[in-house]
């Protein structure tokens, strides 16, 4: 398998990482080398193997539906790049 430059740009868009033209070429070469390694997986017949998503296959633990957290809004907002009136600020989304 070999990725194209357009596919790399598409993946970068999906991942929300801006990728300049110069970087795209180098990224393409390195990703293709990584996928060369990954392709070794395809040599194994795994038809009847159950996928393993987790080392300890436990059921999700549940807890009583009660408030356990205290209100630390100010502490959390303090680490944000831009806030106003208790809200996170982002560029206008809806015109």
């Amino acid at each position: 398998m070999s990725l194209s430059l357009d596919e790399v740009r598409h993946i970068a868009r999906l991942a929300r990482i801006e990728l300049g033209d110069a970087d795209a070429t180098d990224t393409l070469a390195k990703l293709n080398s990584i996928f060369g390694l990954i392709e070794q997986m395809q040599a194994v017949d795994t038809r009847d193997v159950e996928p393993m998503s987790h080392p300890q296959e436990l059921a999700q633990r549940l807890r009583p539906d009660s408030v356990t957290e205290t209100d630390r809004r100010d502490a959390f907002l303090r680490v944000a790049p831009q806030t106003e009136a208790g809200l996170y600020l982002v560029p206008q989304v809806i015109e």
Binding site: L3, E7, V8, I11, A12, R13, L14, A15, R16, I17, E18, L19, T27, K30, L31, S33, I34, F35, G36, L37, I38, E39, Q40, M41, Q42, V44, T46, V49, E50, P51, M52, S53, H54, P55, Q56, L58, Q60, R61, R63, R72, A75, F76, R78, V79, A80, P81, Q82, Y88, V90, P91, Q92, V93
Partner: protein, 484 residues
């Protein structure tokens, strides 16, 4: 004092031969002198350390001290520390100060350990050399032109160069064991679920596990005992009784069955590493252990499977860094999508971006079955191989790394060459088993070689026992690099 074990330090503190403030000052002075050369620490918290040391001295005076009270510790910069910045070695979090402590950090604070600072690492724990870092590579104290291993390179160096008596790390594919091997210290990664991941910045959530660095298995046992334990804030933390990981240290090793995976001893291991491993196994036989060949036929697929599963989980975990709630935000942008794209392009380093892109691709429409599902199926085959091997042995042994520490920059331009360095460690994470690396000899250039011990689930105390038995009769773990 810098050569003392944790038990010796606790005894000296308890007998008031030294105060925690004096001990902490001793290590802070060493950091100030040697960190410019070694770059083991990203952040040193002089004031916080001395304040914690004074509080520890008060506990020691009041008779309420525990085994780690007053003893300095270094935390990998992946663990959130309230009030002290947590960078994950990334420009993305260059100025991030967490509003809360990681569970591990809180546990050690409660135990009275004194945090000296936060250690260097590969950015977001992605790397095997501690060169993928916004703060400059950490350097191996045995030869400062060489890598430390990674991703927990700074923590390994801190212990190796006696900048701290103990340190925390995390291990997703070998990130505690491999730097421990390359710097000549002991490091343990427990079974998945033993150490809470709360406040430990996530890389690959089904593989990430906190671990301990020390000069010896005995020290690692004390630190792991303080770190481990059920935490309801981590949904994968296991509800198990608290354990004393020191309890079995002195069990005799006569009759121990050591499994040697034939795949680990085939081609791929350097001759100097092989010689040191063989000598270590001979020592175990002298102690009454027997060795038996076992097979891990799917182990060779661990690296390809890992480089699907870990990037897939990383691409999801790292989507939280979008320049909105915390972390780097680009200065100029046109709209929200542009702000995301630029903030992430500027904030992440090259290897982190590559893994996010690989993960995004393997999870994207039409490719899920061929990559992610196939990798998860291989994961099961790899885990089952270990269970079959443990029918014939009590522990598995082999090299931690195929080579000794290599030269800085040597493998930096070829990600696949770097990935292949973790050939012996990654399968252990995929299976979720405990693994340990202990110094067992030296190779070319007098550089340390690590022996890896792998146990079955929750066999940490036994692994530490097997390592301790070796360290009772050898002094590889006492060698100290001449640095500075």
């Amino acid at each position: 004092m810098i050569q003392a074990s944790l038990t010796e330090l606790a005894a000296a503190l308890g007998a008031r031969k030294i105060s925690s403030v004096e001990l902490t000052t001793l290590f802070l002075d060493r950091i100030d002198a040697l960190n410019p050369t070694l770059n083991a620490f990203i952040t040193v918290d002089h004031d916080g350390a001395l304040a914690a040391a004074r509080a520890a001295d008060a506990r020691l005076a009041a008779g309420t001290a525990g085994p780690l009270t007053g003893i300095p510790i270094a935390h990998k910069d992946v663990f959130c520390t309230e009030g002290v910045r947590t960078t994950c070695a990334s420009k993305m979090l260059e100025n991030f100060v967490s509003p809360y402590d990681a569970h591990v950090v809180g546990q050690l604070k409660a135990a009275g350990a004194v945090m000296l600072g936060k250690t260097n690492m590969d950015e977001f724990a992605m790397g095997s050399s501690n060169e993928n870092t916004f703060f400059g590579a950490a350097r191996n104290p045995w030869d400062t032109t060489r890598v430390t291993g990674g991703s927990s390179g700074g923590s390994a160096v801190a212990v190796a160069a006696r900048l701290s008596p103990m340190a925390t790390g995390t291990d997703t594919g070998g990130s505690v064991r491999q730097p421990a091997a390359l710097t000549g210290v002991t490091g343990i990664k427990p079974s998945y679920g033993v150490v809470s991941r709360y406040g430990m910045i996530a890389y690959a959530s089904s593989l990430d596990q906190g671990g301990a660095f020390g000069r010896s298995a005995e020290d690692c046992a004390l630190l792991l005992t303080a770190m481990a334990g059920f935490d309801p804030r981590d949904s994968t933390s296991l509800e198990r009784e608290r354990e004393d990981y020191s309890r079995a240290l002195n069990q005799p090793l006569a009759g121990l069955r050591i499994g040697l995976p034939k795949e680990f001893f085939a081609d791929g291991m350097d001759d100097d590493v092989r010689a040191a491993i063989d000598a270590a196994l001979a020592h175990y036989r002298q102690l009454g252990a027997t060795t038996v060949e076992v097979s891990l036929p799917n182990a060779k697929l661990a690296i390809p499977a890992y480089y699907v599963i870990a990037p897939a989980e990383a691409s999801s975990n790292l989507s939280r860094f979008d320049g909105v709630r915390y972390g780097h935000r680009a200065a100029d942008y046109t709209d929200l999508a542009d702000m995301y794209g630029k903030s992430r392009a500027e904030g992440f380093g090259a290897e982190v971006k590559r893994r996010i892109l690989v993960g995004t691709y393997v999870l994207s429409h039409g490719y899920y079955d061929a990559y992610y599902l196939q990798a998860q199926k291989l994961r099961r085959l790899i885990a089952e191989d270990f269970q079959r091997a443990f029918e014939h042995c009590d522990v598995i042994a082999g090299p931690t790394s195929p080579t000794v520490a290599w030269t800085l920059g040597e493998k930096n331009d070829d990600p696949v060459q770097m990935y292949l360095q973790d050939i012996y460690t990654i399968a252990v994470n995929l299976a979720g088993l405990p693994g340990l690396s202990l110094p067992c000899g030296t190779g070319a250039g007098d550089l340390p070689v690590g022996l890896q011990l792998i146990g079955n689930y929750f066999d940490e105390a036994h692994l530490l026992n097997v390592a301790h038995g070796f360290q009772q009769g050898t002094d590889w773990h006492r060698r100290t690099p001449a640095v500075g």
